[in-house]
């Protein structure tokens, strides 16, 4: 009797155990990374689109700073050098190395999509920074973190309409490389922002392809045609720097707004602090947010993370520029 009873108890325990296992796999989601651990050693691979752009260098710097704060994290940055073939092979190398998380700013969306899929298939969470590949966050890649170009430019537009030209006046826009997504979004965002004040007129808009020399030429021509331009919105800091040269050359006092808010002697924050421009609106790198998310996944064993994180812009004006310069 005894033995039979014991056997049946054992059976019941086993059955219950099996039932729990099934329930467990059905209800409790697994962590995104199985090897996650509070005190583990982790490698984060970052596939950068092109180190040659000042903004992207700034992203690298911020990522490096953020990773330093986390013991156990090591950051590896590979420079795609503006070449989808190079960037693809670098992502493949990261997969071979079995990095614990892949961060990527794809140089182009469609060409890098298969490489991102290979990483996901290999069980590596992929956080896309600033630029997306094709597909949906949460499914084709783990998450997207970036700024919203339209909103950032809209903020600049509102600032123009309310603070710079409350009584109206002429404004001009320098656009980035035509047909590139951020150029279009920033142009439309600024236009939307100034709509709040019908007395503000946009009298000129020209493409200067993100570079200062073309911006200087274009803005000099604008000032010839429209000598009463009071505000210039430049879609990035480099073009704002070029526009400043044109304004100085023409002897005009134009209020210049940049975009990106890069640090360093050539960046927008210092230009605002010096009083050369009235403002610049940061295009946030999302570096801190990306490392925070990596901590959640690797250290806290998160089962899911926010699929899309939009990082807000900061308006840099004479009031806060000096204080932000050291950062």
């Amino acid at each position: 009797m005894k033995t039979i009873k014991r056997a049946s108890t054992l059976k019941a325990v086993l059955l219950a155990g099996a039932g729990l296992c099934i329930a467990g796999s059905a209800y409790a989601a697994e962590p995104l990374v199985k090897a996650c651990a509070k005190d583990g050693q982790f490698i984060i691979g970052f596939s950068q689109a092109n180190n040659a752009e000042p903004y992207r260098q700034h992203v690298n710097d911020e990522l490096e700073a953020a990773v330093k704060e986390v013991p156990g994290f090591t950051l590896q940055i590979a420079d795609g050098a503006g070449n989808v073939n190079t960037q693809t092979s670098q992502v493949d190398n990261f997969i071979t190395q079995k990095v614990d998380i892949l961060l990527i700013s794809p140089f182009e969306a469609a060409p890098l999509t298969p490489a991102v899929k290979r990483a996901m298939d290999a069980g590596i969470p992929v956080i896309e920074l600033d630029r997306k590949t094709v597909g949906d966050p949460g499914k084709d890649y783990t998450a997207f973190i970036g700024g919203d170009n339209f909103k950032i430019a809209e903020e600049a537009g509102k600032y123009t309409a309310k603070t710079l030209l409350p009584d109206g006046g002429e404004a001009a826009v320098l656009q980035g490389l035509p047909s590139s997504t951020p150029a279009v979004e920033r142009l439309n965002g600024f236009k939307e922002g100034v709509k709040g004040n019908p007395k503000v007129q946009i009298v000129a808009e020209q493409a200067a392809d993100w570079v200062p020399d073309k911006a200087q030429v274009a803005f000099a021509a604008m000032l010839q045609a429209h000598p009463d331009i009071k505000v210039l919105y430049a879609s990035n800091d480099m073009m704002a720097a070029g526009a400043l040269l044109a304004a100085k050359g023409a002897g005009k006092d134009v209020k210049i707004i940049g975009t990106d808010g890069l640090p360093g002697p050539a960046g927008g924050i210092e230009a605002v602090a010096k009083g050369d421009w009235v403002a610049t609106f940061t295009y946030p790198t999302g570096a801190k947010e990306a490392i925070e998310m990596s901590k959640k996944i690797l250290l806290d064993c998160a089962t899911e993370v926010d699929k899309t994180v939009t990082v807000e812009t900061t308006a840099i004006t004479a009031e806060n520029a000096k204080q932000l310069m050291g950062k």
Binding site: N51, Q76, A78, D79, A81, G82, N83, V84, N85, T86, T88, S89, Q90, D92, N93, I95, T96, Q97, K98, E108, A109, A110, P111, T113, P114, P178, S179
Partner: protein, 350 residues
């Protein structure tokens, strides 16, 4: 693994008879193979390990290396013909961009099928190259200048064809979609081990090796590069040979452009930027003389893979891209110096 893949290319290359055999000349003849072996050994020694496995030798990693170099490799094969005739072709990277744009737009907006598209793009490459060759020979212009102009022309044409946009390639049946079979260029065959792009490279290299080493045309190419006047006197159709080699580089660039579009589902006027310089580097490291008259296909293939393996091992060890450029520079200089020493010993120094 990689040895298997390059074996068709390294099929016995009948050595051109040489009178002065000294050890240095032998080293130069096989410098890129020696270099490849050295880089491979270095790769094994310095490779990061995971659970005792040497990552550098991981089959996936080898596949990554040979896939990444396939486009520049295809171009370098064509470039080898041109450089053996003492010419140069700077237009190849731009022709790759033009070809990938034309491939994408023919299939997506033109509604053409796979075969017509591929044939048309290859023909475009051949014609583009032949025009450059014709201008260069007819007006006795330096190929450097002619192909520099060709580079600008091809990039300009690519922008016109693409309307300043990049063209995404989506797959399926019906208008505006490309035949799904085209996507095979981005995949791996044989149990997910051999990248298709690499197969294209290997087959092209094998054909080129046979053409260069066993055909009359191949002998003409060496003759034109060795001594143009002597070749002319002995009845070699010098102009035709020259036009043909530029048609070959055009074909190679177009083929690489098709592979590019298929691998990345995408055509952009900016594709292949700077590839001409990587290809020239691979050819020079492969032991082909910029003065013409000497060179080998096997060397070019080995040089191409060596550059890829070097880039791979540096990234696996998280060494900065700056070091990669510096290492490549040192290798190019070393290869050129070795060549020049041999020329001097053989009394051919210029």
């Amino acid at each position: 693994m990689s040895d298997d893949k390059i074996s068709p290319a390294s099929a016995p290359a009948p050595a051109a008879p040489q009178k002065h055999r000294d050890p240095l000349a032998l080293i130069v003849r096989f410098q890129s193979l020696i270099g490849l072996v050295l880089v491979a050994i270095g790769g094994i020694i310095f490779s990061p390990r995971r659970h005792g496995e040497i990552l550098f030798l991981n089959p996936d990693n080898i596949a990554n290396i040979v896939r990444a170099v396939s486009e520049t490799g295809i171009i370098a094969i064509g470039m080898t013909f041109v450089i053996i005739t003492a010419g140069i072709d700077l237009s190849v990277g731009a022709v790759l961009g033009l070809s990938s744009v034309v491939t994408a737009s023919m299939m997506i907006s033109g509604g053409f099928g796979l075969i017509p598209t591929i044939l048309a793009v290859l023909a475009l490459g051949i014609v583009f190259g032949a025009i450059q060759g014709t201008i260069s020979t007819r007006f006795r212009l330096e190929p450097f200048i002619v192909t520099l102009a060709g580079l600008q022309a091809a990039r300009g044409l690519a922008l016109v064809v693409s309307g300043n946009q990049y063209i995404n390639i989506s797959y399926g049946d019906g208008p505006g979609l490309a035949p799904p079979v085209f996507a095979v260029l981005g995949e791996r065959l044989f149990n997910n081990t051999v990248p298709v792009a690499t197969l294209v490279f290997v087959v092209f290299a094998a054909v080129a090796t046979i053409v260069l080493n066993t055909t009359r045309f191949g002998r003409y190419v060496f003759a034109v590069g060795g001594n143009e006047r002597a070749a002319r006197i002995s009845g070699v159709p010098v102009s035709m040979v020259k036009i043909a080699v530029y048609a070959i580089t055009g074909f190679a660039a177009a083929l690489a452009g098709i592979v590019h579009a298929g691998q990345f589902n995408f055509g952009s006027a900016n594709d292949g930027m700077g590839y001409e310089l990587t290809a020239i580097a691979a050819v020079v490291i492969g032991g082909t003389s910029l003065f013409g008259g000497a060179g080998s296909m096997v060397g070019t293939v080995a040089g191409t893979i060596m550059l890829g393996a070097l880039a791979n091992i540096l990234q696996l060890n998280n060494i900065t891209p700056a070091m990669q450029l510096l290492a490549t520079a040192a290798i190019i200089v070393l290869a050129a110096v070795l060549q020049s020493l041999v020329r001097r010993r053989e009394g051919l120094g210029r």
